[in-house]
Symmetry: C2
Subunit: 317 residues, 2 copies
């Protein structure tokens, strides 16, 4: 199966590589003096997507979540490999998957240079390689007390869509239509990550939820943070559902948004806004880094909320 | 699950990387002027290994088959990422898997710099990155008429072991013990691949069987080949089973040996043997490249055998 399927759907010109799909390895020539950022993710049917999901959407999302890791590092996407297990030689499925995959690849200038296909339950494993100048990576360990905490775009949409789809949250259909694209067609913040080189002190992409992912920055940087609940950017439609604890949890602890959470010195606020404008990506200041460890979320009344990694603590207070 | 498991079993010092496991991406600094060889493979339980296989052996083999792709390109191993799906948090299994994986990694100087773990049927996807000087890669498309065809080590052992394990071939236990290591603990020919830079004209690793893999070289190079059946190197124990067609097919069409098949101009025979001696790896001349397309296998009587991609053609005369 392997050879024909790769040839038919995944062999395209790779002007940015020395040798693309079809040999034991791909060959690429890194730009002189640049460092490489490398990340691998594995996505499984039943866990990361549903059997009925559109193959083009799966192609889009599986590359998007990997590009999001490059974005969180501030790296420029260059090359990708794709290993995929498929239950059967489904030509139509693969054609649609490849269309979604390559549309995302083309949008961010990344080239598919290698791959592997095998028979099995649908599993997609992608490795992405990006480039960036030495010393300019947006690492998780760079946050310092006094830094502002920023978030790109809006958060909570993908998790709200998932809660809707799973029947945990009732939404009007017209409202659900506004959040579903975030779940199926996330946008990796590649341009913002690159623009934030030399500006942001630390960064991570929000794949597991703001609390968990900001928590990784705090842990690696040995600092704490105070986040202002009212400042968190969401789609307007979400405001109509905030009487539901499920919806509130989606904002603080909802994964799959693939927005960036990053910190920058307060003195660099203008530089952050300039970078965001250059990347044509909205950013919002949502809190600040503290020397005291721990993550506090402060409500509109100025009081700290009882939170857990999965959202508000519904059993507290 | 992800974070703790990675931290516990897969975070080790990575002196050859700028930043290892634990951020959105790993950061590495390629050697100035070198090209990179990149390859990804996915291995599934039930297809590439059995549920009862030893986890240390699975760790060994899953990295070995990836290193074999670097070997077939002549690249020096540098960095690897590991994405793994596991049915449960099995600490003992992971500890043993990591032991096998890192023993193989240490033997070949490759560093695990990134990873992903998720819940699901056991699936292992590894990406390896190696370095090599521009223009020295051992590609599949470099074979020329008149080249010798060479094979490293011995072939057919892994396939014979699989046939024995699956009950398709009866072997004495003492004989089976001699072929089983080839199936469970293959040796990637990394040192030979590096030594063959500038010597071999083309190369591939034998993962699908000599006929199929040499076939890839012939196709990409637009040439043919004549292979001398009697010259094919096997373990002595295999000779005792050659009255079985299953055993004969294992030599010509048996996969999983991860030996190298390569070609070199006849004028470079001494250079090939010197490279093999430097790499401490036996090599055997088994045929020659022809301008006529097609792959012929000639028996001891000097007549061409009727062959298919899966071995002899048992239905032909």
């Amino acid at each position: 199966m392997e050879f024909d399927l790769i040839a038919r759907h995944f062999t395209r010109p790779t002007p940015g590589a020395v040798l693309g799909v079809g040999d034991d390895c791909a060959l690429v020539a890194p730009t002189s003096g640049m460092q490489l950022a490398v990340s691998s993710d594995m996505l499984l049917e039943g866990r990361h997507f549903a059997p009925q999901d559109s193959p083009a959407g799966i192609g889009h999302k599986s590359l998007a979540v990997n590009l999001s890791d490059l974005a969180a590092m501030g790296a420029s996407p260059r090359w990708a490999t794709l290993a995929i297990a498929l239950p059967a030689d489904d030509d139509a499925w693969l054609k649609a998957f490849a269309r979604g995959f390559f549309r995302m690849a083309d949008a961010h200038g990344i080239e598919l240079v290698g791959g592997d296909t095998t028979r099995g339950a649908l599993t997609i494993s992608i490795t992405v390689i990006g480039e960036l100048p030495p010393g300019e990576a947006l690492r998780r360990d760079g946050a310092r007390p006094g830094d502002d905490v920023w978030v790109s775009g809006v958060i909570g949409s993908a998790a709200t869509a998932l809660a809707y789809r799973q029947g945990r949250l009732f939404m009007e259909q017209i409202d659900a239509a506004k959040v579903l694209p975030a779940l199926y067609l996330p946008t990796p913040r590649v341009a913002l990550g690159i623009a934030l080189r030399g500006v942001a002190a630390s960064a991570i992409d929000i794949s597991d939820g703001l609390l968990a992912d900001l928590g990784h920055i705090l842990e690696r940087s040995a600092v704490g943070a105070v986040v202002d609940l009212a400042a968190l950017p969401t789609l307007p439609v979400l405001q109509r559902y905030l009487h539901e604890s499920v919806a509130r949890d989606c904002i603080l602890a909802g994964g799959d948004d693939y927005e960036l959470c990053f910190t920058a010195p307060a003195a660099r606020r203008d530089a952050v806004l300039e970078a965001a404008a250059r990347a044509d990506t909205p950013v919002t200041r949502v809190g600040r880094i503290t020397a005291d460890p721990g993550l506090q979320v402060v409500g509109a009344d100025g009081h700290a909320l009882a939170i857990t990694r999965t959202g508000y603590d519904h059993f507290a207070a």
